[in-house]
Structure formats: structure tokens, C-alpha cells
Amino acid sequence: MDAELPYSLSNVADLPGHEDRAWNVAWNPVKPILASCSADKNVRIYAYTEDLRFKHLDSIPTGHAKTVRSVAWAPSGQTLATASFDANIGVWEKESEVDEAGIDQGEWECISTLEGHETECKSVAYSCNGTYLASCSRDKTVWIWEVLPDAEFETVSVLMEHSQDVKCVAWHPTEEILASASYDDTIKLYIEDPSDDWFCFTTLSGHSSTVWSIAWSPVGGYLASGSDDKTVRIWRRIAEHKWECVLVLTGHDRSVYSVSWGPGKDDKRKGKEGEHLGWLATTGGDGKVMIWEVEEPTVKEGETPSMSKPPDHRLVACLNAAHDVHDVNSVVWCPRKGYEDLLATTGDDGHTKVWKIAPSA
């Protein structure tokens, strides 16, 4: 850790258990649990208390024939989706069966298997209202499924806009806009037209290699992307359907595998000039976790606000070797109120680790 930076990341939990690399981790948006998934084909669920004690709660032997690459919780917190290299998506719910001791004895059950992709499924994500589930694959497509009652899913769109493997999908936090990131080095954004057909309304180019991960800013209006080209780009919405790259962050020595944008948690920031856009966490093959504070550009007296000024940004924390010598594959801020300073990571060592960001001593 760099002692000169204003914040530090301290380890809160180290959760081993996967027998092979862990690819992805996701915090339940409502309940105090989180899920990790792995090449060992399992999902591990961990529970935590308010005083941040973490323990392993459940293992789901998913029955996927290959690696489970990605997990995503529905906004209700009731449902979990898994994306696998076997090309399928699993949808899981747990029946609550709380016994006399207050312990939930329910089992995780697969309530639906979504088939359609022709090759490995890489990512899955629920829209902000839980209405849609998006998935993507090496088959170059992005699928949008409508989530219906009684574990029914209807394919609403199969989008074939990318020219290569699609690595990641992410929904806007408040609007129904979908982003996809691809091996073709671009990001595409999709919305519904007036006749409810989904289409790609813009392509964001600029990265010089595969885009591995995308994350929307919590306040909307910005998108961050991490790429094989070792950079993180910030894109700003300059018109309803127009986005442009306003910042390129360097610092990683190898591919950036994951980015996550959280609202940040810091009372000191109140009253500061410039709208605080939160904290962007980035990580990848160099094993580092970097935290960037991003703000709307400050406008000096006498200056007109210029839409083309990049956001103010600074590196506020940097953690080396988060998973020792291993690649870190995923970093995610906790979405729950009161826990905005918690971060989870998973890596090639099969561990899930939880970190807390705090001002440096």
C-alpha cells in the first residue's frame, strides 16, 4: 500500500474455498450476503454481520458443465443468475426454511435454465428494476430476456452488433440502457425504440484492445471501462444518445479485468466544490486494486462551464498484490447503504477477499 495516498485499503476478510480460479463476485443488493463463482463450477455464498464478520454460508454445486464465469443478483435480492462456459444461464432461488434456531435451512434451487447462446456465456446482469436480464457470449451476441412471473423468461432480443466475443454486459443504474464490452475493442450501448425493439444507438471506440469490463457511475451520465490495453477510460454522456471519452487512466501494468463504480463514503467531501462522482475501483492482471476519486470538473470564477473539460480525478488508494501473485479477476463495491466503504475482490487463487477503504492514518 502506498503511504502517500489519502486512503488505504485494509483487509476485512479472506474467504478461501474455491478449488480453482474465482472469476466473479457479486454483493446481494438487499441481504447481507455475497456470491462468488469459479472454474470449479460452484457458487459460494458468504454471509456477513454489521460488525463485518464474514463466513461461508452455502455452496451451490450449480450443475453447469463448465466454468461459472459470472454471477448477478436481481434487484430484489431474491434471485441469483449464473453465466457459464457451458453456454447456459442458471437462475437460482432459495426457499426460506428458517428452523427453530433461526437458521435458514432452505436449499438453493435452479428455477430456470436459459439456453440460446452457442458458445461460452461470459456475463449476466439484471436491469435496475429487475425487468430484464441481459447475457453475452463468445458467439458475439447479447441477449435480452424479459423476467416474467413463475420463473418464466422470454427472449426479447438477440443483438448481433459486435464483431467478436462479448465479454461483459452492464445496465444503467436508473434507466433502461444496456452496455456491452467486447474483444472487438469497443463498447456498445442499446435502448428500446418506440416499437419496443432493442437496437445499438452508439459504439464507443478508443481502447486499443479487448474491453473486459464496464461500470456505470452511480449518478448516471458516466461510464467507465477497463481494457486489455491496461487503461481505464471514462466516457461522458454529452447528449441523450451521445457519449464521448473524456479521460484515460493509466497505472495498471497488465490487463484491467474489472472496474466498479461506487458512490463513495466520506463526510469530509460535503460542501466541496465540484459534484462528487464517487470512487472507481479498478483491478487486473497486475494484482493491484486502484481507487480513483472522480469529480465533475470545477469551474473557476469567470469561466463558463465547459462540457469538454475532463472530470477531476486523483488516485486515492492503491493496494498491491491483493491476491499475492495472482491475477485479480473481479472488484465490486458493496451496493448496500451504510457499507459504501466495502469492496470485494476475487482472483486466480480462488479466494474472495473483502476490503475496507478508510482515510490513511
Binding site: R21, A39, K66, T67, R69, F85, T119, E120, K122, R138, D165, K167, Y183, S209, T210, D228, R254, S255, G285, V325, H326, D327
Partner: protein, 178 residues
Amino acid sequence: MSTRGEIFNPNPVVFSTAKSAGRRSDLSPHSLWINDDSGSDSEVEDKIEPIDQDEVFDLIRSIYDPEHPNTLEELRVVSSPQIAIGSNHVKVEFTPTVPHCGMSTLIGLCIRVRLLRSLPERYKVDIYVKPGSHQSEHAVNKQLNDKERVAAALENPVLLDTVEQCLSNVRGNNPLAP
């Protein structure tokens, strides 16, 4: 993957091999670099002995070409000067025998798997075709260095089996020869 009967380079040039430097040449495919039983011993040992390019070459020289009963060393696909090594990083450049070689991705994958199984965990490995040696150089390099694509490829049982055969060090055991 090549179809039956179509060999990309029917007449490869075969070179004589240099004598092995006497290092461990009998590694089984799944062994760690240091042939000790306990993981902790190997950690101590590899802190003492940094690995050099000749040792990396020793690991990959006897990988079999998928199409011919010759090793990558014999076909000059790999050579010691084409390996760069830092304290935590290895870069291997390999030269396909012909510019349109469709086996290049497979050869690169074999090199990667051999090194993955043999080098200490701290090593990041980058594998590239020698610049100018392949007509789809960028595409081949991109696939070989995409961790997710490599992982998914190795979950394909047919492909994994082909890789294992190239790595099995048995002369004459050629998976794709007619």
C-alpha cells in the same frame, strides 16, 4: 483446426537439437518446476534460484509439433534467444514454420499449458508469434494472450486431448499425422 489430410507445411526443415544442459528433462506434465513433494519447499527453492531463459527453453523444446513427428526445437519454432525472462514475467516468441500456419494457435496453447504447469505461480506469461512470421499475427497473439479464451479452450475435451498429446514427450505419438 486442420481438416483431415491437410497439413499446412508438408516439408518442414528439421534442425538437429542442441544437447540439453543437463537440467530436468523428464518432467511429467503435471509436475511443478521443482520436483519436491511439499509446496512450501518449492517456494523456498524458487526464491533462491531465479529461472533463466535456458530453463524455460528446456521446458518447451520437446513439445511436439501437432503435425509432424518433430519437436518445436527441431523445427526451430522455439529457441532460447526468443525467450525473455524477468523476475515475474516470461515472454516467449515462437516462429511458425510457414506464414499461414493454422496450427499456430494450437502450438502457442501448448507452450502456455506447459509453462502454466511447470513455472512457479508468480510468473505471468506472454506468448507471441515472431513479428512478421504469420499472416494473422495480431489475431493469433490476441487469442493466445486472452486468459478467458485460453481457459475456455482448455475446457474443450477434444482440444485439451490434442494439447496433452503434444506435451506427452513421446516420439512418434503424433495426434494429427495421417
